[in-house]
């Protein structure tokens, strides 16, 4: 036997000064090594997914770039206010992205600083607070910012192209955007640290609710601070000069987004940009120093509290809860399946944290309709009644995204517990039944709110209101069934984080199928209904019978897209054996 145990070190105390420092890069190295291994050992379908995602990404980039370029060239053609409009547009985009960054950093920090499973090993090791802070901060920033970073590329490139900036511009833009991405990471991490200290993470959900409330409030405030409607309503100002003055005045001078905009526009217009860049880098450095000091002071206590959360005993008594008694009519098997689905969802904070983003998404969605210019010249009754069918497609897309996030992973999430279901006398039909309704019922509520509220805000005719409500209701069932079915055919049993599951190849296929289905249903219901509205509006004879065939076709399509995927999913689950 080889002797790995060295000669006994004297049990003399070790001076803290002799402890060699663990560097930030040492803490980040495993993540880098894992990324390299993932790249080398790619799984089945990874290459297809990569190609598909890259193709879609490049298409999106090109479209965004061309649109932004066209808009900026149009702005530049307006001599007086063109530069102001371009600056305002950039600061508004950056302000919106900044609020999204702050929210996603706050949530990512909760996971990276407190819930990550490797923290046990790190907290038991002599790792200095500073190294851990910097490593986790960079991870948090990277996890939260990569998407915003990618979205910014075509927009910034369009500014460069519109202003014919030189080759130095990309370097300058990176130098300006980097601190802009880091500031929300520092602020979000500090916010999470303070919240976990205030709310012992025994109640992670409470914490997330607070974050939700703060985030939504912050988003609304920032949105209002930007006063976006002023850009499209110059007639709201007393005179043109007042409009120009409002464009010229920074809407939020204390926001890093304003500083980035100031620096970039300064560079593009050959004006001074040094002070704006100094504010950005100075801001991030000062905040990071404060953040690190807070981390060193409060993290260990907060992490210990977060551990206690894992040990919290259930406070529910022996009495059967209300829902349990309400669902008695389902019988023991279906009732237990439904209750299990609901409980697992409600107690999984990684699932809940996604609801935060969903809530914000809905607020923004309805707010956008609220601020649509629905009166004034050009807004006819006919146009107002056509918008709901565009809204139907958009709401369908929102529902499909939510189904992808919450319904698609539900088979995968059975994961290591699937043996329990497979070894029990449980018909897979019942499991699917429970998952289907647990997914479909909240989606129905959401669909009604989304379409119903926007229809009311738009003030559409009763007929259009009913058709669009029926259309979205009919879409919920096939979307849920398709999500379940694709989830059964492309399961990822070993992924612990539910948020990662929809990014699989199966998730992409589901989204693409859903888009085709939504388009078909919106077309089949929207086109005849629009014709009917046009005919009524112009006083022509409207033929209600012309509506029957497309409506029946849409209903048949929805019914088929519900039943067939469910049947296939059942067969798949019956045959499924864990590898």
């Amino acid at each position: 036997m080889p002797d790995p145990v060295p000669a006994p070190a004297p049990a003399a105390p070790i001076s803290a000064a002799l402890v060699r420092r663990t560097r930030t890069w040492q803490l980040l190295r495993p993540k880098w090594q894992m990324a390299m291994h993932r790249a080398r050992h790619h799984e089945r379908g990874d290459l297809r997914r990569l190609l598909l995602v890259s193709g879609l990404g490049v298409l999106f980039w090109m479209a965004a770039f061309l649109m932004a370029l066209r808009l900026l060239r149009y702005f530049r053609s307006a001599e007086d206010i063109g530069a102001l409009l371009a600056g305002k547009l950039l600061s508004m985009i950056l302000l919106s992205f900044g609020s999204i960054l702050l929210l996603s950093n706050t949530i990512a920090a909760l996971s990276n600083f407190f819930l990550s499973r490797d923290l046990d090993q790190l907290s038991a090791a002599p790792v200095r607070g500073g190294a851990l802070y910097r490593a986790r901060l960079l991870e948090t920033a990277l996890h939260s910012s990569w998407m915003v970073g990618l979205l910014l590329i075509p927009i910034v490139a369009a500014y460069g192209a519109a202003y014919q900036a030189g080759w130095l511009f990309p370097v300058f833009a990176i130098g300006a955007i980097l601190p802009y991405l880091l500031i929300p990471a520092v602020v979000g991490s500090a916010l999470t640290l303070l919240l976990v200290n205030v709310f012992p993470a025994r109640r992670t959900r409470d914490l997330l609710s607070v974050i939700t409330a703060l985030a939504v409030a912050g988003l609304v405030l920032l949105f209002r601070a930007a006063r976006p409607e002023q850009l499209v309503r110059p007639e709201g100002f007393a005179d043109f000069m007042q409009f120009v003055a409002s464009l010229d005045a920074p809407s939020s001078p204390w926001m890093p987004s304003e500083w980035v905009s100031e620096a970039m526009l300064g560079f593009l217009n050959g004006k001074p940009w040094g002070w704006a860049l100094t504010r950005l880098w100075g801001g991030v450095l000062i905040l990071a120093v404060v953040g690190q000091a807070l981390h060193q002071r409060f993290w260990h206590r907060a992490f210990s509290l977060a551990q206690e959360g894992a040990n919290k005993r259930s406070t529910s008594g022996t009495r059967r809860p209300w829902l349990d008694r309400r669902l008695r009519f389902l019988g023991p098997l279906k009732r237990e399946l439904v209750l299990k689905e609901l409980r697992v969802f409600m107690r999984d904070s990684t699932q809940w944290s996604q609801l935060v983003l969903l809530g914000v998404l809905l607020v923004v969605y309805v707010a956008n309709v609220r601020y649509l210019p629905l009166s004034g010249p050009g807004m006819t009754t006919m146009l107002r009644n056509l918008i709901p069918f565009l809204n139907l497609a958009l709401a369908g897309f929102v529902l499909a995204s939510i189904a992808a996030r919450f319904v698609f992973p539900s088979i995968s999430l059975e994961g290591r517990a699937l043996w329990l279901l497979q070894s029990s006398p449980l018909p897979m039909r019942d499991l699917l039944w429970a998952k289907f309704w647990v997914g479909a019922i909240p989606l129905i509520g959401l669909a009604m709110v989304l379409v119903g509220c926007t229809n009311l805000l738009l003030g559409v005719q009763q007929f259009v209101h009913l058709v669009s409500l029926a259309g979205i209701l009919a879409l919920v069932f096939p979307l849920t069934a398709l999500a379940l079915s694709y989830g059964a055919f492309y399961p990822r049993f070993d992924t612990e984080n539910a948020a990662q599951i929809p990014t699989s190849f199966g998730g992409l296929l589901f989204m693409m199928t859903s888009i085709v289905l939504i388009g078909a249903v919106a077309y089949l219901t929207g086109r005849p209904a629009a014709r009917f509205v046009v005919a009524s509006h112009l006083g022509w004879t409207a033929e209600p019978t012309a509506l029957i065939l497309p409506f029946v076709a849409a209903a048949t399509l929805c019914a088929g897209a519900t039943v067939i995927p469910l049947m296939l999913a059942r067969r798949r689950l019956d045959a499924l054996e864990r590898g």
Binding site: P2, V5, V19, Q33, E308
Partner: protein, 257 residues
């Protein structure tokens, strides 16, 4: 700084989760060169105690000293002397065994050829050498456990705190680990080990502590435990008497219900 009497010194250690007290006024000293066995029924507070010793959980009250360093006042120096093996360890799935060992050594400020040499020796000891460049995701449960144990030894700590080390190990690895612990303590180091396998505790440990409802209800050598229990029983009987011997009666009641 006072001269340490023990490598692990626990004084009036207390841990509360809300209204539930997990550990109550625990006093314990484990001297150098001792293999200390920590026993107790599920939920007795063993894991909570060990996680406080490892610096993962903060005590509600009381103090822990490792190799003479107060864990609260000088956490880095205290942790430097400690190797902790948790009951449900996490290993990065997408690292290889050797990469994980290098990373673990790096956390203790160790790197270079010396770490690689020790890593290879430890992997060879546990029959993991052929797997050293394979991703951890392809390891079995027992192999992961062996890798975690190897990672706790790679920085040559003065104290090892290990929660349920034998779970999932094959008989050969189990024997190697027992010999490793014995040899380790013979060389002046300290091991604190929790286990549910009473035969292992009885056969290996110099002293045994039994926890029940957050309190240390018995502590000493096997002979001392026998004297205090007033009989010449095996550890199992002493353990059951201290932690509740109504099990058999309850079992019959449940089966008859």
């Amino acid at each position: 700084m006072d001269r340490p009497h023990g490598m692990i010194e626990i004084t009036s250690l207390h841990k509360r989760y809300g209204t539930f007290t997990a550990v109550r006024s625990l006093d314990l000293t484990v001297p150098p060169g001792e293999l200390f066995g920590f026993l107790g029924p599920n939920g007795a507070g063993k894991t909570t105690t060990m996680r406080m010793i490892a610096g993962i959980l903060q005590p509600t009250a009381g103090s822990v000293r490792i190799a003479g360093h107060d864990l609260l006042r000088a956490p880095l120096a205290a942790k430097r002397a400690l190797g902790f093996i948790p009951d449900r360890p996490f290993i990065y799935e997408k690292l290889t065994g050797m990469e994980f060992l290098r990373f673990s050594a790096g956390l203790y400020g160790e790197e270079g050829a010396d770490v690689d040499k020790r890593g290879h020796e430890l992997l060879a000891l546990f029959d993991l050498e052929p797997w050293r460049d394979e991703l951890v995701e392809s390891y079995s449960h027992g192999m992961r456990q062996k890798l975690i144990i190897a990672s706790a030894f790679v920085h040559r700590p003065a104290v090892i705190v290990v929660d349920e080390p034998m779970v999932g190990l094959d008989p050969k690895s189990s024997k190697i680990l027992k010999e490793l612990f014995r040899e380790y303590t013979r060389r002046g180091h300290t091991v604190m080990m929790s286990t549910h396998t009473l035969e292992i505790a009885e056969g290996m440990c110099d002293r045994i502590g039994i926890m029940q409802r957050g309190e240390l209800v018995a502590c000493g050598t096997m002979d001392e435990l026998r004297i205090s229990s007033g009989s010449d029983d095996a550890l199992e009987d002493i353990f059951l008497r201290l932690t509740g011997d109504t099990v058999a009666r309850e079992l019959i009641e449940v089966l008859d219900a």
